[in-house]
């Protein structure tokens, strides 16, 4: 004969035992990581002495308000410009073609080498000699490249002007 019963005796976990177990776990971790913990405490003490923790706690307690203010500050034209400039910078880099960049950079590198040598020697050249050097294929190639560069830039300027109109 088993009548219907509803009473359930649940083994509620012993709070004291659970706490003792947790304390033992903590102690083990502390002793195993003694040096790191002591160094951490020193850093924390310094931060606490400076009042940083108080400030952080204040910010955390009021994170919605603080967040809203921060966003308000961030959401300004100056910040937009910084972010846009960053993004355009990245976009600019992405438009460069690696092969071309390599050629240009090699050229710049070689030019710098010459430049530093000339600078070091403190050598001066006559106007006449320099004029003669303008005829060399190297100088002409570099000049052509510079003119092409300026032409491209001018094209973009004109395109923008047209677009703005």
């Amino acid at each position: 004969m088993a009548r219907a019963i509803r009473q359930i005796s649940k083994q509620t976990p012993n709070v004291e035992e659970e706490q003792a177990q947790a304390a033992a776990d903590l102690m083990r971790q502390l002793t195993e990581n003694k040096d790191a913990v002591i160094a951490g405490i020193q850093v924390m003490k310094g931060l606490n002495d400076m009042g940083i923790f108080d400030a952080l706690r204040g910010m955390l307690d009021n994170r919605t308000e603080v967040g809203a203010i921060a966003m308000q500050q961030l959401n300004q034209p100056a910040t937009h410009n910084v972010i846009k400039a960053g993004m355009f910078g990245i976009q600019f880099l992405s438009t460069l073609q690696l092969g071309q960049l390599e050629t240009v950079m090699n050229g710049v590198g070689l030019g710098m080498k010459r430049l530093s040598k000339t600078g070091q020697d403190g050598e001066k050249q006559s106007i006449w000699k320099m004029r003669r050097r303008l005829r060399s294929p190297e100088i002409r190639a570099a000049m052509t490249a510079m003119v092409d560069f300026m032409e491209g830039m001018g094209e973009a300027f004109l395109h923008n002007k047209k677009h703005d109109e």
Partner: protein
């Protein structure tokens, strides 16, 4: 390629097409991207988004609505087409703010996000404009945010024409249109049945599960005060959408590591919906159905969509309990299993194996039912094993086994959808099988399907039917036989079908002699005209399906009435063709599977008889044990056996038998007589209160396995969560009990159990987990090569000679009670809760919608007895007494009252009123045959059904979203007028520059 198939040319390439396919469907099938936001494969064409423009034959047309024609030339790449598509998406983005990274819908499957990205849109043509409406957060489960709503109308289409609840519309007449519920009431106060269709198909975050909000994303929990300026800033600095999408895609990808998506199969009815469960740790974020779900597609019902948080209930059983004196004490698994082994073993030793009874669960998996009957038969040595189909569908199974040979539905939901005529008898499918009912409602609304409903209550399907028939209770066999006889008298039978495919014709026809229309009218109250209309409808329809449930099967003559249905279908040749057949609607997710896998006293898995020496030998050889040769006790006989002292011990899992079996007082008194009782469940049920040992089991979300739905479809479900606490999957527990009793089983995974069952039961020969991976499914019988059988009897019936059998049946009068019990007690389910409610009442939202059960009384009875909504009445039958509050409704008539079974409260549970009388063949209780008397206890009181229940809503039926009203607005310019083709578009190629 089929002969009727053809191809069309899109952008110079040939694409295969089928007749009736739109250009968009052809493109999708051929993996060609054409933007389309309002189109959804399960919904069809809506024509609101205007993004799918293409050039077909020199005209700018919507590809979603333009049918592919042989020889058609289509192009999508020319500038005017691209401009048209850009104009379409721009109009959408005017209504939808793109803040994907901080949107909870940014999970890789957002239609708008993916379309904008795929189109390579860099900037927004029209600035976003907020709508002048606040979000509607009134509903417990989902919210509507008008500001994000693009007015695509998917939700309306789903509500109007797929679910066919007809709650949502778009009010195009306003200055700023929006979606409205009923006549513009808060969602919670509308006729919304909370099925979730609208949320499931929303292409963005306008309609979202509340459980997702602030939970899905890494940044979506940010308070609005911070979020709004963040969105502003993002919009201010964004160079273009591509860069923003890159970030949102990274965020979406990161979500994959925190949100787990697992396929499961619903456990709330026999329809067998499958979907993904999205979880974050143990939190259920969303139920997401997918188009590939074989039964439901994107459809769900209120319980399947929202009713799963019971898995985290604090009331879950997490440790074994052992009865000690007047209380249960928590124990270890070893202590519990040792005690079970000692007691069950001892009782078997002392009284023999037949002193033990085993009750299996139709909520648990095929594999669990298989190992449970193996334990009973092979380890304990008794066939006293049964499941709760005994309470519902055993008569239907028996009727089909004796007329057509297989105890299951003749076809699938697709046949029900395709039938020209549906007859529903004694089934409230819109509440008990909601997703299956949607297919009937849709076919009836859109495709001219005829619907006849025979029921005591005017349920939702009845309200929509072409003909409602209300017979006197328990007289269905008579009018069915009369209709059959009338068809024969008119010469409307299918003579060729009968000649070639059916036996016992002459004898059967003779048995119908007395079932004249006059006799039937007198006995059933159904008029001759109604019966003639039914007969004529069947005669005129090319295909008829008959669906039935407990209104037929819970009667004294239930097997015979089910047989009469099958006879009628045979006489009219309605078997073996698309859109025909018999469909007993299984109530639980695995009623079919529990029976299929052998938890029945007379049958091995796959319906092979215990008494067959050949079959027994096969199992004995495989199991290495002896198996008793005679059928054991069914549920009913086991209860009687407890009273008689024959059954001394019971092992029951996943069944609330104390409240669900009829005549609860008698059943509970039987439990009290047991010497030892093991109950295995996920909650501490009423049944568990009688146990000696209670074992904590794991629900479907915490284990792997398969279920078989009402269609005979076997589907795989996967473990979503780890079992809570010390609970375990039922198959593991059963294995451990078996091993303690001397078995040496070593199943590591349910797939191994299925492999064993498939190797032994011929109808499952080809079933394997490999073939059930993901959303794949198999409809039994399954041949060894994996070929399954969605439609039965196309060539032959399941008898040795291949012919069906007409079986003569006569009417069994119902249980009679004294005249003082003057009200007829009807009972059944409601939409919002499952069964006694052990799972669903633990869900806050479901309980908000329906906090308690109620008694439905008619307008006439209310007038006669001075009843109103909230009146507390006592109902007394010869077997017990309950007290419940009243709802007055025209759903019931005269002296018929309806008491839903969905309560855990002893004082309201209907089965304290029902009797132990039963179907004379299968012993299924005659739940539907009882009289009660009523007394008024409190004349007034709070209504048991709150005003915010859908039953008080006001539906607004219409076809689709009424897009013409959008087109007629003064501010609408058709895109094909705005953008002109120049005529030189063909031949342009997709060049980058």
């Amino acid at each position: 390629m089929k002969e009727s198939n053809f191809s069309i040319e899109i952008n110079g390439k040939e694409y295969a097409a089928e007749p009736g396919q739109s250009i968009l469907e052809v493109a999708k099938a051929g993996d060609l991207f054409i933007p389309a936001i309002c189109y959804h494969p399960n919904l069809g064409t809506i024509q609101t988004c205007d993004t799918c423009y293409v050039n077909a034959g020199g005209e700018l047309v919507r590809s979603c609505v333009t049918k592919a024609q042989p020889g058609m030339k289509v192009e999508t790449l020319s500038q005017p087409v691209q401009e048209a598509q850009y104009e379409g998406i721009s109009r959408i983005l005017k209504n939808h703010e793109l803040y994907c990274t901080v949107c909870d819908n940014n999970n890789g499957n957002c239609t708008i996000h993916n379309t904008v990205e795929h189109m390579g849109l860099a900037h927004q043509k029209y600035p976003f404009e907020a709508k002048p409406y606040p979000p509607d957060n009134s509903h417990p489960f989902y919210r509507y945010e008008p500001d994000q709503c693009i007015l695509c109308g998917r939700c309306v289409e789903a509500c109007q024409d797929l679910q066919v609840n007809e709650t949502l519309t778009i009010d195009w007449s306003r200055k700023v249109p929006r979606v409205i519920w009923d006549n513009d009431v808060p969602i919670d106060e509308s006729s919304c049945v909370s099925c979730g269709h609208c949320v499931n198909v929303c292409p963005c975050n306008a309609l979202m599960e509340k459980s997702m909000l602030g939970e899905a994303g890494y940044l979506t929990g940010i308070p609005p005060k911070i979020l709004a300026p963040m969105i502003d800033m993002t919009k201010e600095v964004e160079p273009g959408y591509r860069e923003i999408f890159a970030i949102s895609e990274v965020e979406a990808a990161m979500r994959k590591s925190r949100i787990k998506r697992t396929k499961t199969v619903c456990t709330y009815c026999g329809v067998g919906c499958s979907f993904e469960v999205w979880t974050k740790d143990r939190d259920i974020l969303r139920i997401q159905p997918l188009e590939e779900a074989p039964v439901n597609g994107i459809s769900t019902c209120v319980k399947g969509k929202w009713g799963w948080d019971f898995v985290n209930s604090e009331e879950r059983l997490t440790k074994p309990l052992i009865r000690k004196g007047d209380e249960f004490v928590e124990a270890t698994w070893d202590e519990a299993l040792d005690l079970i082994a000692e007691k069950l073993g001892g009782i078997k030793e002392k009284y023999g194996p037949d002193a033990l009874g085993f009750i299996a669960s139709s909520k648990c998996s095929n594999e669990e039912n298989y190992v449970f009957q193996k334990l009973a038969r092979g380890i304990v040595g008794t066939n006293n094993v049964d499941n709760c189909s005994r309470y519902c569908q055993s008569p239907a199974t028996a009727a089909l086994l004796r007329t057509v040979g297989h105890g299951g539905d003749a076809g699938t939901i697709h046949d029900i959808q395709a039938a020209e005529l549906i007859i529903v008898i004694g089934a409230n499918a819109a509440e008990s099988h909601p997703v299956l009912a949607t297919r009937i409602k849709r076919a009836h609304k859109l495709h001219g399907q005829k619907l006849i409903v025979v029921d005591l209550r005017e349920n939702e399907l009845a309200q929509r039917a072409d003909l409602i028939v209300h017979p006197k209770p328990s007289t269905d066999l008579i009018w069915i036989n009369a209709v059959t006889k009338y068809i024969l008298d008119m010469g409307w039978e299918d003579k060729d079908f009968l000649d070639e495919r059916v036996n016992n014709y002459e004898e059967f026809v003779k048995s119908l002699e007395k079932f004249t229309l006059e006799y039937a009218e007198e006995k059933t109250g159904v008029t001759k005209e109604q019966m003639i209309t039914v007969a004529t409808s069947i005669h005129e329809a090319k295909s008829t399906c008959i669906l039935w449930a407990m209104g037929i099967t819970q009667h004294s003559g239930a097997t015979d009435a089910s047989t009469a249905i099958s006879n009628l279908l045979l006489i009219t040749g309605n078997y073996g063709r698309t859109g025909t057949g018999a469909y007993p609607l299984r109530g639980h997710n695995n009623v079919q599977g529990a029976c299929d896998f052998g938890t029945m006293p007379a049958w091995f898995p796959g319906y092979e008889p215990i008494q067959s020496p050949k079959v027994r030998e096969r199992y004995e050889k495989a199991w290495g044990t002896a198996i008793p040769s005679e059928p054991g006790y069914d549920n009913h006989q086991m209860v009687e056996g407890m009273h008689k002292g024959e059954i001394k011990a019971m092992y029951l899992f996943g069944e609330e038998m104390a409240l669900v079996d009829a005549n609860s007082n008698y059943v509970q008194a039987a439990f009290e007589k047991l010497e030892f009782y093991v109950v295995q469940d996920i909650f501490f049920s009423k049944t568990a209160q009688f146990a000696d040992v209670v074992l904590p089991a794991a629900p479907s979300l915490e284990k792997d396995g398969t279920f078989t739905n009402t269609e005979r479809r076997i589907q795989r479900f996967y473990k979503v969560l780890e079992p809570l606490g010390d609970s375990k999957p039922d198959w593991e527990i059963i294995q451990e009990v078996a091993n303690r009793l001397g078995a040496n089983w070593n199943y590591k995974h349910p797939s191994e159990i299925m492999d064993e069952a498939a190797s032994l039961a011929p109808i499952f020969a080809g079933v394997s987990y490999d073939r059930l991976e993901g959303f794949q499914s198999l409809v039994w019988p399954v041949a060894a090569d994996g070929k399954d059988t969605p439609l039965l009897y196309t060539d032959k019936f399941a008898f040795p000679d291949g012919k069906a059998r007409l079986v003569a049946v006569d009417w069994t009068p119902p249980v009679e009670v004294d005249a003082e019990y003057d009200l007829h007690l009807n009972n059944g389910r409601i939409l919002e809760h499952f069964h006694e409610g052990n799972m669903t009442y633990r869900n806050e939202g479901l309980t908000h919608k329906v906090p308690d059960t109620w008694l439905e009384v008619s307008l006439e009875l209310a007038k006669e007895r001075n009843l109103q909504d909230g009146t507390l009445v006592g109902l007394t039958s010869p077997y017990g007494h309950v007290e419940v509050r009243v709802i007055v409704t025209d759903r019931v008539k005269g002296n018929e009252v309806y008491l839903p079974m969905n309560t855990r409260d002893d004082s309201k549970a209907v089965n304290y009123l029902t009797s132990s009388y039963h179907d004379y063949i299968t012993h299924t209780p005659a739940y539907k045959e009882m009289g009660v008397k009523m007394e008024v206890i409190e004349a007034e009181g709070e209504s048991p059904l709150p005003d915010h229940n859908h039953r008080f809503g006001n539906r607004v039926p219409q076809i689709s979203v009424k897009v013409e009203e959008k087109w007629n607005r003064a501010d609408f310019t058709p895109i094909d007028e705005l953008i002109q083709l120049r005529g030189d578009e063909y031949g342009q190629s997709n060049q980058a520059n």
